[in-house]
Structure formats: C-alpha cells, structure tokens
Symmetry: C2
Subunit: 601 residues, 2 copies
C-alpha cells in the first residue's frame, strides 16, 4: 500500500517544474518507458513512446525520455503495451452503488476510471445542500478526479411530493461556486424548460454564467416542438437516448450525446449505429454509466466495461476511447487537465496489452500507481461522514400493523381499487385496477392474485405519515415485507408486503439501523443491506455491499418474487415523474396527468 496525494497543483503552478523536466534540467518523478501512445488528439497509436511525469502531471511525451531520468526517478517499463488516458464517466450517480464516493472510487480505480462526473441527486433529496457538500468534499479528497454536478431538480416533482429538501436558484448558485463542481446535474424537468419555468431557467442561467456545463435529461421519445424548446433553453448534453435517432437529433442541435451502459441500462448498442452504420462524426459522442450497482462494480467493471462494449459494437478502439476521454474532457471544459496523455495534463494513465478487451494491468492517477492487474494497490482512506448524515430515518413513532390498515368507504362490501402494476425490466408502471373484498371495514389485499400492499412511509420529518395503496407484479406468495429507504427521488420509505405485521417490522427495523433495504417474513429478518448514510449509502466496502445486496435479492426470491432486478422496481415506485401511476407522501399519483387521484374508483 502506498500513500496517495490528495490533490495536485494546477498546470499553471507546475509549469516551471514541467518545463525543467521536459528539457532534462530536473529529473522526472517517474517515467513510463517504451509504450504505444494511444493519442486521442490525433487519433493515432504511436509506438516506442516514453512519458515523463513530474508533480503529478505529464511533462514530456515523445520518443525518448532518458534525459529526464535521474537517480530517484521511478521507471516503469511499458514493454510495448498501450498507454491509454484514464477513463472518464461523463454522468453517474454514486448513490446507485450504495457506497460512499471514496468507496466507489476504490471499486472503480482498478477498472481504469480516473475521472467521474457525479450528480449527487439522491442525497440532495434527503440532506439538501449539506448532503451535496459532503459528497463534494469526499470527492475532493480523492487521488482521482471527481467533479460534482449540482442537482437541478430537488424535489423532482414539486406539488406531487415532499422530499427531504428543496433547492432554490440561490442554493444551486452557491454550489456552483464550490471548487469541484463542474455544472448543473441533469435537468429532468424538460416540460418546465419548454414552458419557461423561471426556476429551471434561472438554474440554467446561473450555470451558464459560471461558465459551467448544463447537464440535460430529455426522457421522451418526442422530437417535436417540446424537444426544440428544451434545446433552446441551454442543456448541453443528454444521456436519456435509447434509439439511433436520439443521439442524431441531439448532436445536430449542438448538444453532446452520452451513451449509457449502466447495470440496468443498455443504451449504447442501438445508438452507436449512428456512427458505425451512418458515419456520423463521432467527436460529440460520450460514454457514461449513469447507474452502477455495487455488484456490477465488483464483478463486471465500470467505464472499461462500457468502452469494451462500444468496441464490440464495431467502433474503432481509438474512437471508443476518445468517447471516454477527450470528448468528455472537452465537454466539461477540462481538456487542459484530463482526457489525454499530453504535456500539462494530470498523469492519469492506463497500461493495457490489448485494446478490445482492455485488461487493466496498471492504473495511474496524478502520477501515482493506484492499481495493478485489477487490484487496488494504493491506500485510499475512508472519509467518515458526520452524524447528521446518519440516522436520517425519522419515523416519528414505532409503526404497528394497523398503520397499514386501508379503510373501505363507509358500508362498502367490495371496492374497486387502483393498483400499481410493476413491469419487469422497465421503469414505467401500469395503472391497473382490482376488485378487493372488505372485512370489518378494512380492504383486504389479494395475494393469490398478486395484489399486495404498498406503503409510503414519511421518513424525513417524523410526521408519522403513512400512505397506503396496492401493487401487483412482484409475485410474493408468502407472508412477507420488503422495505427500502432508497425510494427515488424523494427517498421516503417504500414498504411492500403481503403481511401488515411484517411491513411494520421491516419499517421499524430500517428506522433502527438508519435506513437501507430489508426483507422480513413471518417476523423474521431474512436479509438487510444497511445504508447508514442518508439511508442511501453504506459505510462498508463495495464487496460487502454487493454480497448483502445479493442476499437481499435471494431473500426476495424466497418470498416468491421471480422478477429480474425486482429491487430496482421497488425503489422506483415513488418516482412520480415516470408514468403511469405511483405513490408519494401526498397520495396515489397519476403520472400521466400529473395529479393526485383517489385509491378507490
């Protein structure tokens, strides 16, 4: 384990040292000798190249750096391997990995990621600006480059939900002034932009004035007037495309298209055809992950997985690498610092013996070797999060089974109820209906027909509020409950169950451990992923979180749920910006109409 410098001086500060080293008057700190230079500026691969590094930055790249080697210079023999710029993730949420920023970095550095553009949208909805600042400061402590996009839509759906915080234009402006913020996080309120909502326009304007990048998110297949109105407002990129025509439309309008390969997003293969089949100029395509689960990070990879996949779709390796390096650096106005192996830039360098498969044989960031052969070798200490970031699950009371009682309308023997219909592998839900019987004035769920209960438990302000409803599609066939404080985007608690007793027990358990995801059956805890930080992130290592998440998925299976990735469906059931029907702390929401509706019809 080697120590790692937490930050390095700017090119401006280091220029005299870099010049001295380039000229051979002062020895380099380290030299990488005899590699193939993957040159993202020229689009070439140049053999027999040396790199001299000083003060964490590249001082010299050329055919022979022997003049820069002194007695104390560390020499790394590339032995003809490819020297690739460290990979950049153009848009992602750390919270999706359910680990801290530092732990996320520890997990992805061995995969060659040396820059991440993160939008801490989830913690913002729980802890507000203070939460974003925690993520920012965690990011700033790292030996890799992690830039923060300031969340733009907190809450996501004003009027349809109460989150744990609300951002004003002033909040956004303040955060844009922090040293490691790079712009505005995905502007999801695309109807708001197209309708000239003053708050959305104000946030975009504050970002443009700060000369930072406005992240976009146009999650609609419509490429008509609303799309054009959105573009005129200023968002500079979009990662929500899925069809080949989506990046085409965006890039033609002067935006950049981010193609996404996350744990559950497979949006590269179709969109990249705009380049591989139609010959579009690739310079405005970027690659990103958006959401990666800890299991993906531990078992599959991160940006190396995306680049590899893009090459498999028929892209030239150098083009795919440009999409994960220089293109991203230019998009965020950072090409003087990252995105290429060129003088002045941070020495973020990967050694690999094969481009299509990208084995990560050595990963260097800011001139320090951080990982070798897929294993982290540097000591990157954990940053303790302060107490206010923990114990954020404030239920206001101990829940009992009768908190989940659903009263029928006076005198009814049967009701017709709205039911949220889960669709496997998709974010949208279906607005279903079901006839349910009434006993002793209470509506009964119907587990036999896969209609069980869902509750949104208020957990930010201790109001004791519980909104009850029905959900179908999970297939639970035992007495059980699953509760989660990851509940996009307001991150209250969602409890789904066939047993009110288990629902209460699961909810209370999460209240006790400070949040997470838990599965209970017949009063017994089957599995729990504790997420102590904001109820969203664990304090443990990614491997442990991945194991606990796997156990949690298995426990859901034990209870009868056979859906692929059911936990993701669970955590999205309060996402009141995606149709058709959801639950919020204010009630049942018809997302097609953006209005609250009664549970009974």
């Amino acid at each position: 384990m080697t120590g790692v410098p937490m930050s390095i001086p700017s090119w401006t500060e280091s220029a005299p040292r870099l010049i001295e080293t380039a000229m051979g008057r002062t020895p380099a700190d380290s030299v990488i000798r005899g590699g193939k230079w993957v040159n993202v500026y020229s689009g070439e691969i140049i053999p027999n190249t040396d790199i001299a590094i000083a003060a964490g930055r590249i001082a010299y790249v050329g055919p022979d750096a022997s003049h820069a080697i002194g007695a104390n210079t560390k020499v790394i023999e590339a032995k003809g391997r490819y020297m690739v710029p460290g990979l950049c993730d153009a848009h992602m949420h750390v919270e999706s990995g359910m680990v801290t920023v530092t732990e996320f970095a520890r997990a992805v550095i061995p995969h060659g990621t040396t820059s991440m553009f993160i939008d801490p949208h989830e913690i913002a909805n729980v802890l507000g600006l203070a939460g974003v600042r925690l993520m920012h400061d965690d990011a700033a402590s790292l030996p890799i480059n992690v830039q923060v996009q300031v969340p733009s839509c907190v809450p996501s759906a004003p009027g349809l939900e109460n989150a744990g915080a609300e951002f004003s234009i002033r909040d956004v402006t303040e955060a844009l002034g922090w040293p490691q913020t790079c712009g505005l996080g995905e502007m999801m309120n695309f109807p708001g932009v197209a309708m000239n909502d003053p708050k959305m326009i104000g946030e975009i304007g504050a970002t443009q004035l700060a000369n930072k990048t406005v992240g976009g998110h146009f999650a609609s297949p419509d490429l008509g007037l609303m799309f054009h109105g959105y573009v005129a407002g200023g968002p500079a990129d979009d990662h929500e495309g899925t069809r080949k025509e989506d990046p085409v439309a965006r890039i033609r309008q002067g935006m950049r298209a981010m193609l996404r390969l996350g744990s559950a997003w497979y949006d590269v293969a179709e969109q990249i055809k705009a380049v591989t089949e139609d010959g579009m100029d690739p310079r405005n395509f970027l690659l990103c992950t958006d959401d990666s689960h800890s299991g993906t990070l531990v078992n599959d990879g991160h940006m190396n997985r995306v680049v590899r996949h893009a090459i498999q779709q028929g892209l030239k390796p150098i083009t795919a690498i440009q999409m994960a390096t220089l293109n991203t650096a230019q998009h965020f106005g950072m090409e003087k610092d990252i995105g290429s192996i060129s003088p002045g830039r941070r020495a973020d360098i990967i050694l690999t013996s094969d481009l299509p498969t990208l084995p990560m044989e050595l990963v260097m960031a800011a001139g320090e070797v951080l990982a070798e052969d897929g294993r982290l070798t540097a000591n990157i200490p954990f940053n303790d999060y302060p107490e206010f970031a923990k114990n954020t699950v404030n239920l206001g009371k101990r829940l009992a089974a009768d908190d989940f009682d659903i009263y029928a309308p006076e005198g009814a023997a049967e009701v017709r109820a709205r039911v949220i219909g889960v669709i496997e592998n998709q974010a949208p839900t279906r607005a279903l209906e079901a006839n349910l019987s009434v006993e002793n004035g209470l509506v009964s769920m119907d587990a036999g027909k896969d209609v069980c209960q869902i509750a949104l438990v208020e957990r930010h302000r201790g109001t004791g509020g519980v909104v009850n409803g029905f959900v179908s599609g999970f297939g639970y066939d035992k007495p059980c409950a699953v509760a989660s404080t990851v509940a996009h985007d307001s991150h209250h608690m969602i409890v789904v169950g066939t047993s009110k007793e288990d629902m209460a027990a699961a909810a209370n358990h999460l209240g006790k451990v400070g949040g997470g995801i838990t599965v209970f059956s017949e009063g017994k805890e089957l599995a729990t992923v504790e997420l102590a930080i904001a109820g969203l992130m664990s304090e443990e290592r990614a491997e442990i979180v991945a194991e606990k998440a796997a156990a949690m998925v298995a426990a859901m299976g034990t209870c009868g749920c056979k859906l692929n990735n059911a936990y993701m469906q669970h955590s999205l059931l309060a996402l009141v910006v995606i149709p058709e029907i959801r639950i919020s702390d204010l009630g049942i929401i018809d997302v097609s109409k953006f209005e609250r509706v009664d549970l009974f019809i």
Copy 2:
C-alpha cells in the same frame, strides 16, 4: 443600408425569448426557409431545413419553422442553398491590412467572415496598452464577433531593441480582464518559455488563470527538446508550421494546429496532407490567415479563400468548414456562441449555392443581413480614433542627408561592411559582407552592386536617433528612397535608399503625414500610403488603401525593385527575432547569436 445592432444579449439573457420562439409562442424576428443545413456537429448536410432567429440568436433549427413565423417575421428563402456557419479566422493581425478594425470588418464581411481572433501586436509596440484598448473597443462596436488576443511579447526582443512600449505581466493581466479578450497572443519567445523566463511563464499563467487561450508561435523546425519544453509551458496552438510533420507534432502534444493562408503565407497545402494523405483526425486543425494585405481582402477574399483552398487540397467541404467554424469556436471556449448553426448561438449564417467555390450570396451576423452577393449592405459606421493614436511619428528633428552619413574608421580607404541580404519571398535574411570604398571619411554605398543604405530612424520618443547600415537585394538602380513606419515589431521607421537626400525627404514626409510608406526619387514623392493611426493603419477604406499600396509597389518597381512583395521584405528588416542579420534602434543585430555586432568587420 440597414442599421446594425452593436452587440446582442447573451444566450442566458435571451433564453426565455428563444424558448418562446422555438415553441411557437412568440414569432421569430426572421426565418430562413428551405436550406441545406451544413451541420458541423454531426458532419452532415441536412436538406429542407428552416432556421428561426430571435434576439440575434438561433431559436430553432429543424424541418419546419412555420410555427415561428408571425406578421412581422422577415422570411428569407434559402431555395435549397447551403446554410453555412459564419467563418472564423483563428489568428490574425488587423494591422497587416493597414486599415482599422472596423474597415477590416467591412472588407471581410462580404467574404463570409463573422468571427476574428485578432492580435493587435503592432499597435501594442507603438501605443502600448492604450493602443490595444483602442483596437478592442473598435472590435467591440462591430456587428460581427471580434475577439482580442493580448499581445505577449512587447517588445519582441528585449535588450536588442526599444519599442514604443513595454508590457509587464500586470499589463497583460489587466487586458485579459477586458470583455472582448479571448487569450494571450502568439507567444513568440519560445526560447524564453523553454528557459523558464519568469515574465513569459507569468503571462501564460495569468492567461490560464483567466481561463482563456494561450496562443503559441513556435517558429523553428526543431522538434527536439526545446519544442517539448515550450509545449510543457502551456501554449495551446501554433500557426507557424509549414511542413506536414509540424501539425502532426503539435496535435500529438495536445495542441491545435492553425494552418495559415495569408497574403504571403502558403502553409495549408503541405500541412493538410496529414489529414488527406495520412488520415489524422481533423478535429484539431484550424484555419487562419495571420496576415492579409488590403489588396488580398479587396480582390481575393479572406477566410472563404482559405476554406476554398483547403477543399482544393482534397479535404471534404464539411471538414474544411469545421476547421473554420466549430474547431475554432471550441479552441477558444466559445462553442456556445459561435461556430455552428445550433440553438442559442449567434445567428452568424452564410447562404451559398456551392460549397467548393463558396460564392457568398448572403452573409448574416447576429441575425442581421450584412452583405449580399459579395457586397456590404449594412451601414457599419467608422469609429474615430483619438488624437493620441495619430501623429505618432516623433522624429525629434528635421532629418537631413547627412543624418545618413556613415563614417569610416579613422584613416580607412576601404571597409569591409556587414550587409543585410534580402531573400525574395522569405522572412529570413542573409548575413552578407561587402567591400566598400571611403570618400572624405564617409563610406560609399555601391548601387551598382545592389548595396544601398538602410537606416533605422527612431520615431517613438523623438530622440533623433538614426542607425545606419547597408542592405542588398532590392535592386534599386535610380536615386531613390523608400521609408516605412511599418517596421516589425518595434515599428520605428525603416528607410532604404540609394540617395541620402531622398532618404531624408522620405523620412521627413512620413513625419509630416503621421506615418505610412512612401517612395521618393530625386526629391519627388512618387507614392505614399498614409497610415495616420499609429503609423500602421489608414483612416481610409480598404479599396483606397489597396490602390495606394499598389501604386507604392509600382513606384518601387520604377526605382528598379523587381522583387515580388518587396514592401514586405522592407517592413521586416528590423524584425530582430528572425535570423540572420537585422537592424534595430540599438545597432546591427546578429539574430543567430542574439547580439549586437559592429557594422564593419
């Protein structure tokens, strides 16, 4: 003649209006209908496209803008013509045209230039920061986008010459804070950067801190250590390349290569082979003119001439256009404002019916039609320059023929003298020697062997200083003199002649008219180009200046000079940064050794 708005609000300020127009809720100011969209982001040409314009910016680009047409919307029918982004000149000196910034703009707008990145290096050497500010303010008044690069090397060769001004790091920093400066002008002192000269490093650092672009100028074929040392210092571009390997070397190092086609520079054809023959990624190539004479502007064109030429060398038209639009905009961090036909950007648009030949049928800037069919149609008023910018030729006395007497060493009957050897069509000179006879203690020139006199007349501080020497190569065979206050880079006065009486008369004439270039023979004024502003620029129209310059060249021919472009050679004879031998106000300079030498050997 239509009136023209002097500046337009930012995208941020105009976003609400742009959205309203894009959505069809507020009519556009103008709409261009039915053109072929030359899309520099996607690299495509897209037929049947409409553009809606509001507040000087593009609100909508797409298949149908009829929803944005109101009763007062001006509709321009493209009739299937190409709609090309206005062209950008990535690096140039207005002074080379010997006209003001406004007049330069009036000359080049009909050629489709809507953005210029100008380095007012010449006026800086005469009038210092105040002169640069005059150019800046003239630029800021224009309906096209003219950005100022702050001159970096004033004087060009400290210790070898005194210019009219000297810039400190503080001066450069001050100018970088003005609204329309985009970076540092060409950093010519490449040995200084490689040697870590604190002033050069300080200027570069100030520019990086201001988040602006550091212009480069590495005028040496050496691609060894000095080149690498220079790159490590931070310059971001270079326009001094001439061979195919020059842009290759620069782009590989993370710089951008500017390929130059000026009045006397022909550096595109050879360098562009890196793209057309070797397949290098073209995204980091830019086009520029550097120096255009008024005759070129009037008769041949400006950036349209460069783009046309680049296409003739085998580039795809879209690629050549990218090099004069988007690539330049990205280099200067201005892609949100210029360089493409995309929403939010300034409506700088050319209509042309053919890409390879680029006839300029309509030129619009910031939404206003400024020129049609190669003729300026807008009224762009002349900005008066203040008195301090005129009458800058301060000789301190009336010169007489004997000011040009060259005394031989005591008792010599003959001397061996150093002679500056002019090389046709090239900037370097040859260090020649000649045996010259002595009469009455004075050395005689030898017009028969084409050795005539040259004098550097101090003209900034009225010291009365005259440095005399010899020059060969112009071929003057009559009694005559040619004097010029354009005398790179210090811009004293250079007088070359075969007659001392004519030398005195020519010098005094320039003193009287406030500077310029004049040709005298046997006491008679044959031709004069008056350059009242700083002795560098005329107050007249480019057509008039071009005519006067042509008459001046003809007059030089009458006096026996058959060199191509001899006036350029004349004006470069005091450029003490280009080998081999030059003249300055301090004496004869051996530029190979960077030291002063005696006239006699």
